[in-house]
């Protein structure tokens, strides 16, 4: 009867003899006699712990891998232990506790749970990616720790016995569960999540079912568990999801006989897809509840960012765009940065998502009647367009025309001369070339030039549609308010929140705008810039009219538009100069930090190539006067502009004469004042 002890690690135990029930065992007479003679020596039999022996016999033999893992986990635990020493732990908890039964109970469970609690609280406040990585390493450490604890420490006898007795006896399971406190269940669930995650990451194909278990865990009631579950599933998905779009096999394909490999892959793919779908649905549902709002949004955004080529990306995009204007700042920031990265990394999704995202945003602007947070339109600034979208169209058409004409003529001329053989050879060559091109196209993932251009044209039209809608909305709201005296309540974001980013975007994208619309655009800008804030009823502050900085921006954008379209036509912008002249009067120092004023002065006055002496003189005089009462930044910009104007306009230097009464130029200034205020 060879029974192996635990201490013999290297030698696997010999096979046990078959189990014989006690009644069948026959004792020989000699044996009985021997025992009766030596009862003293036989007392050890009563003291044998049959339970322990049974347990040790049923243990699996220790292989080399197990030993290696134990050593590794030991090392890691040691390192963690060193790190853990920095964290404050209550010294009472470090000492072992003796329960009433006389059993020693080491309080390591509480320690790690405290650590975990502290960490999760911190992490939930921290930045986004850190939480994932911290969680991962933390979970990994916990997983190793739990493995080590389960296997090595002999002093953890009572707990181990309890755990070991679970498996054979399901009846005791319920009792044991009640005994474990709530913290321990929390701990257990976290460990379980960590284990499943590790399994999945190490070998996704084999362990794909654990994904479902992870999802089950995240359906718990405890909010922290749900959040941790969602985040860990997110981390797993980020790593597992393949670089291609999964297409489920059709019925025909399912009926076909396939090899084992293919069956395995199909099963893996379909399970992955189902789990992903369930996860997404859960996220969408949870996002509506305020408790999970941030976490769910974070998961959605990370997924969209990481795998924009995968299935269900449309649904992801819809939910992300829906939150692009939420009042919660964290959520909004997340969504905006995701969409911005989508626009800049077009390679990942081949440009289709750009079009969709832009269209969704445009629809949202329309439905909300332009009452959104400005961030939602600022994302448009990250879109990049090819420079020659519009031009290529016309060139292509011309080329096609010319080519066709030439070809027809040539063919008619050469038909008589050509040999039959040469013709067929040429046709074969062209056929081969076409086939090669088609094959190449099928393999590459990039959309070819035509498709890309089409998509960019759609995007562009959606962007401009949004901008023009915002402009028109602003116009209407101004027009209405001058008629009705009742001040309607502005939305949560102010009366014209989207106007500023809209104007910036227009200034950036004017090159792509068709010449037809520039005239309309200039008209609108003129009207917007000249809308004054003088209302009949001076008591009511009509907040719907444009502020000074908005009007300044309109003038600025008009100039930028004109400058970028110089090759088309150089339009005189006298009206905008008049507006600027009046706006300088109304400018109260200390509104924004003066950037808008500085930029408008620079672009309108300093860069202007047309030198009108009267106008320049009038501006010099007004700017010099206001430099005395503006704030620091604005007066600096005013003085720089004055210097610039005086340097360029020789005649204006007469203004610097010191004669009393203004010298030779005073008359002209009076005229220019009148001239600029004429309209």
């Amino acid at each position: 009867m060879g029974k192996s002890r635990r201490k013999q690690k290297t030698i696997p135990p010999p096979q046990l003899p078959p189990d014989v029930p006690e009644e069948d065992i026959e004792f020989s007479d000699e044996d009985l006699k021997f025992v009766e003679e030596n009862t003293d020596y036989a007392r050890f039999v009563t003291r044998i712990d049959t339970g322990a022996i049974n347990r040790q016999c049923s243990l699996k033999p220790k292989t080399v891998e197990d030993k290696y893992q134990e050593e590794r986990s030991k090392k890691k635990a040691q390192q963690e232990g060193k790190g853990n020493n920095e964290i404050q732990v209550d010294p009472v908890d470090v000492l072992p506790v003796k329960t009433l039964d006389g059993k020693l109970h080491y309080r390591t469970v509480l320690k790690t749970s405290k650590l975990a609690d502290g960490d999760t609280e911190e992490l939930e406040k921290d930045a986004f990616e850190d939480e994932n990585t911290l969680n991962k390493s933390q979970r990994r450490a916990k997983a190793k720790k739990s493995k080590k604890e389960a296997k090595k420490q002999e002093k953890e006898f009572p707990e181990e016995i309890v755990q070991e007795e679970e498996t054979p006896q399901a009846a005791v399971l319920a009792e044991v569960k009640e005994e474990l406190s709530a913290e321990e269940t929390f701990e257990n669930k976290k460990n379980k999540l960590a284990e499943l995650g590790m399994q999945l990451l190490s070998d996704p194909e084999a362990n794909i079912k654990s994904l479902k278990e992870m999802l089950e865990i995240s359906k718990d009631e405890n909010t922290k568990i749900v959040k941790l579950g969602l985040l860990s599933v997110l981390a797993v998905f980020k790593d597992i999801i393949p670089g291609y779009r999964i297409r489920l096999p059709t019925e025909k394909e399912l009926e076909m006989k396939v090899s084992k490999e293919v069956k395995k892959t199909r099963f893996y793919e379909s399970t992955l897809l189902k789990a992903y779908k369930a996860y997404l649905q859960k996220l969408v549902v949870l996002e509506k509840q305020s408790v999970y709002n941030q976490v769910a949004t974070r998961c959605l955004c990370t997924l969209l960012d990481a795998v924009p080529h995968f299935n269900y990306r449309d649904n992801l995009l819809i939910s992300v765009v829906r939150n692009i204007s939420s009042p919660d700042e964290v959520v909004r920031r997340l969504c905006c940065s995701t969409i911005r990265s989508l626009f800049s990394n077009e390679g990942k999704h081949g440009g289709e998502l750009t079009v969709q995202a832009v269209r969704l945003i445009a629809d949202q602007v329309k439905s909300q009647n332009c009452q959104l947070h400005p961030n939602s339109i600022e994302v448009f600034m990250s879109i990049r367009f090819d420079e020659d979208i519009g031009k290529r169209d016309r060139e292509d058409e011309n080329k096609k025309y010319r080519k066709n004409n030439k070809r027809n003529k040539q063919e008619e001329q050469n038909q008589v001369q050509e040999n039959e053989r040469k013709k067929s050879k040429r046709e074969m060559m062209s056929k081969i070339r076409d086939e090669v091109a088609a094959d190449y196209k099928g393999v590459t993932y990039e959309p070819d030039a035509m498709e890309r251009r089409k998509m960019q044209i759609e995007t562009l039209s959606a962007v401009f549609e949004t901008y023009f809608r915002i402009l028109r909305n602003t116009m209407y709201s101004i027009g209405e308010s001058t008629e009705a005296d009742t001040a309607t309540n502005p939305g949560a974001f102010g009366s014209h929140p989207l106007l500023a980013p809209c104007l910036d975007g227009l200034a950036k994208f004017t090159q792509q705008l068709d010449l037809d619309y520039i005239g309309d655009l200039m008209n609108y800008l003129k009207k917007l810039a000249s809308s004054s804030s003088v209302s009949n009823n001076s008591k009511q502050k009509n907040s719907k009219l444009l502020t000074v900085s908005e009007r300044l921006r309109c003038c600025l954008v008009a100039f930028k538009v004109m400058r970028s379209n110089l090759n088309a036509l150089n339009v005189d912008l006298q009206d905008f100069f008049v507006q600027l002249y009046n706006l300088l009067l109304e400018y109260r120092p200390g509104r924004d930090s003066g950037e808008v004023l500085a930029e408008s002065l620079k672009i309108m006055l300093c860069d202007d190539r047309h030198q009108d002496m009267q106008k320049t003189a009038a501006f010099v005089k007004r700017l010099a006067t206001f430099a005395l009462c503006f704030g620091c930044a604005e007066s600096m910009s005013a003085l720089v502009t004055v210097k610039n104007l005086l340097q360029r306009n020789v005649k204006c230097r007469n203004l610097l004469e010191n004669d009393a009464g203004g010298g030779s130029v005073s008359g002209s200034i009076a005229v220019s004042d009148k001239y600029l205020l004429m309209i």
């Binding site: 010449l515 005189d572 009206d575 002496m613």
Partner: protein, 187 residues
């Protein structure tokens, strides 16, 4: 010399309106400081030998002392009636028009001479142009240094101008200051 009657006044004002638009009232109500009177008089229009003159009232009073056949010209001549009975603005009204013009066009230095010889303005010669020009509007032509060179009728709107070929006509020539040399006898 006689003042203009109803029809003639309407015709003259219509022509002027094409060029200066609503600033017409400036033209009519301009206070004049000529003459020894302490109060400022106004400007008015008078017809003499098929030519329309823009004169201050004080000058008109004194001009009545001269016999009709001896009176050659008074004030500023702004235009004349043809044999057929239609009214044309002449180059001598340029100062008035330039001061109150609504629609302006600036020429590049290279194409100034071409305009001064009596040619139309091509798009390639355009330096700048005011917005909101409608075909058929009166346009005053300036050089880049803001010297008025003449006037004409717009052939295209500003919007259409953007898309034109550089050799298309933008402004049809009506009068330019080169006529002082070319048509000395007729003025």
């Amino acid at each position: 010399m006689r003042p203009l009657d109803e029809n003639e006044t309407t015709v003259v004002f219509e022509k002027l309106f094409k060029f200066i638009g609503n600033n017409l009232k400036n033209l009519v109500e301009n206070p004049s400081h000529e003459g020894p009177d302490p109060e400022s008089g106004r400007y008015c229009f008078r017809l003499q030998k098929n030519r329309v003159y823009y004169v201050s009232e004080s000058l008109v009073k004194r001009a009545t002392n001269i016999a009709r056949k001896n009176l050659v010209s008074l004030g500023t001549c702004i235009g004349k009636y043809t044999h057929a009975g239609s009214f044309h603005l002449t180059i001598m009204s340029l100062n008035l028009l330039a001061a109150n013009a609504k629609h302006k066009v600036w020429l590049k230095p290279t194409s100034e001479m071409s305009f001064l010889y009596g040619n139309h303005v091509l798009k390639g010669g355009l330096g700048r142009i005011t917005d909101s020009i409608v075909p058929g509007d009166g346009v005053v032509v300036f050089s880049m240094t803001d010297v008025p060179l003449g006037f004409g009728i717009a052939a295209k709107s500003t919007q259409d101008c953007r898309k034109l070929d550089p050799n298309n006509i933008v402004v049809l020539h009506q009068a330019d200051i080169g006529e002082y040399l070319r048509d000395e006898d007729e003025l």
